[in-house]
């Protein structure tokens, strides 16, 4: 298969020619993934922390439910969001279907369970250490939650990465609610799907390589931050 060799040279060319279309697609990919990640973190972290330290009926049930939502098939989420945002659906009047916002909504739904579940897991372990201390201080639950989140921040980076990985690699949901519209809702994954369906396999592969490079560099960055944290002795 010379497709791989071809793909490497094509991705190389695309990167170093600063292809405008590619930059636009990459930019949208980053924008959509990061916004959905941001919203998911704002909701998911407090949710995870609340579940980790809370003791109330049905807690275990909710945790199990959240855990299973991590496996939500993107197409199903895409379909649900489509039905709600469709002009004939309940939120059709907002005119959000086939816009980047619709993609953010779908991805947020996909990522919240990941952020919530994984952070719950991490904070639960931390809770065992801190429980007695916090009890003796008699502090408010909201304060405890922020203390937990702050102290676990380096471990939570991995959670954020898992969420980002899901967002940036997902194609099923964004292709339904975004429509893969050129210069509007086309992201890396939907572009790869399109090029594959056009039989431009080496170009599709080249885009895949670029996507991989992007997430590689982000991961290196996070490893580096964690390393600094370790050196300073916070982890």
């Amino acid at each position: 298969m010379d497709i791989f060799g071809d793909a490497f040279s094509k991705s190389f060319n695309l990167i170093f020619s600063f292809d405008i279309d590619l930059i636009e697609i990459l930019y949208l990919s980053a924008k959509v993934s990061l916004f959905s990640l941001l919203i998911s973190c704002v909701i998911g972290f407090p949710l995870g922390a609340f579940l980790a330290i809370g003791k109330f009926p049905l807690r275990n049930f909710i945790v199990a439910f959240l855990n299973s939502l991590m496996g939500l098939p993107p197409v199903v989420v895409g379909l649900i969001v489509y039905l709600y945002l469709s002009r004939s659906g309940p939120f059709g009047f907002l005119g959000l279907l086939y816009t980047p916002s619709a993609m953010v909504i779908a991805q947020t739904i996909l990522i919240i369970p990941i952020i919530g579940s994984l952070s719950c897991q991490i904070l639960e372990d931390l809770d065992k250490e801190y429980k007695d201390l916090f009890k003796s201080f008699v502090i408010k639950r909201s304060q405890a939650i922020s203390a937990y989140l702050y102290d676990a921040r380096y471990s939570l980076f991995t959670v954020v990465l898992a969420g980002f990985g899901r967002a940036v690699s997902e194609v099923g949901a964004v292709i339904i609610v975004g429509g893969n519209i050129d210069h509007l809702t086309r992201v890396m994954t939907t572009a790869i799907a399109l090029e594959t369906s056009k039989g431009e396999l080496s170009l599709a592969m080249a885009l895949g390589i670029i996507l991989l490079l992007v997430s590689l560099s982000i991961n290196f960055f996070v490893v580096w931050i964690k390393h600094i944290g370790k050196v300073k002795g916070y982890v």
Binding site: S86, R87, G95, T99, T196
Partner: protein, 270 residues
């Protein structure tokens, strides 16, 4: 309240491109997109009218469904029967013939079912069934799929009982189905435009073409604002008028890939 405002601001930023433009959404078959047709024609349309056309290319079946949910302003598909039904149910006021090309039967160049020698498409299909050679079907209710089913029906082959054996339904778009056909060395029915532009042809060729039953008509409709109040029928109508105008038709005819004309305007026949 604060959070609501923040979320709203985020959406405004993410969507900044959406609000400030004259635009329409075209629900479309995939062939017109995969063949590069929109890439060629839409910038010209934008230049003249200032309207940006966003294309959602999903296959005729899905495009019609989406249009029935009012999620589009214009419908461009190729399944006349279903288009007429669409109009009759009130989703559009009028269907316009836009252009045509044809379907082609493609397969491995050594042609194991010997379809090349057959006198008609129906006979070619019959040979594939008789020799139980692999056939990749779209299986997605697209325009190409419904034509394929129609030919099987005429050939007297009940494909249902062979599904999963030599008759493989991919449930995907044309390009993906061609990829599958090539991957397993089987036949498939494709529209000519997608095939000509297709990049991963291997040793596959057009093995049968030119039968009347393979004629492929594309239709164009504005979605009815009486059924779908949110439809931008004003801009939709501008698009349709432009496409079926003499000028639009000329531009359609001038689109060529590798020296071959892909679509032939026939709006005159309306």
């Amino acid at each position: 309240m604060k959070i609501k405002i923040i979320v709203l601001l985020i959406f405004c930023f993410v969507n900044s491109k959406v609000y400030c433009q004259e635009k329409i959404i075209i629900q479309s078959t995939t062939s017109t997109k995969n063949s590069g047709f929109y890439h060629f024609i839409l910038p010209k349309f934008k230049k003249e009218t200032g309207i940006i056309a966003h294309v959602v290319a999903v296959g005729t079946g899905a495009a019609i469904k989406n249009a029935m949910n009012c999620d589009g302003d214009v419908l461009l598909v190729h399944s006349p029967k279903r288009e007429i039904k669409f109009v009759n149910e009130g989703f559009s006021k009028k269907r316009f013939k836009l252009m045509y090309n044809d379907f082609v039967l493609i397969g491995p160049s050594f042609d194991p079912a010997n379809v090349k020698k057959q006198i008609s498409a129906i006979e070619a299909f019959r040979q594939i069934a008789k020799k139980q050679k692999l056939f990749a079907s779209r299986g997605d209710n697209s325009g190409t799929h419904s034509r394929e089913k129609f030919i099987w029906e005429k050939a007297g082959v009940i494909t249902k009982i062979y599904s999963g054996k030599w008759y493989r339904e991919t449930g995907s778009g044309m390009g993906t189905t061609i990829n599958v056909a090539i991957g397993m060395g089987g036949y498939t029915l494709s529209d000519r435009a997608t095939w000509i532009k297709f990049g991963n042809k291997n040793d596959f060729k057009i093995l049968f073409e030119g039968d009347k039953i393979l004629f492929n008509q594309y239709g164009l409709m504005v979605i009815n604002e009486l059924k779908c109040p949110m439809v931008n029928s004003k801009n939709g109508k501008k698009f349709v008028d432009w496409m079926i105008s003499e000028k639009g038709q000329k531009i359609i005819n001038s689109y060529k890939v590798k020296g071959k004309q892909l679509f032939f305007g026939n709006a005159k026949d309306n």
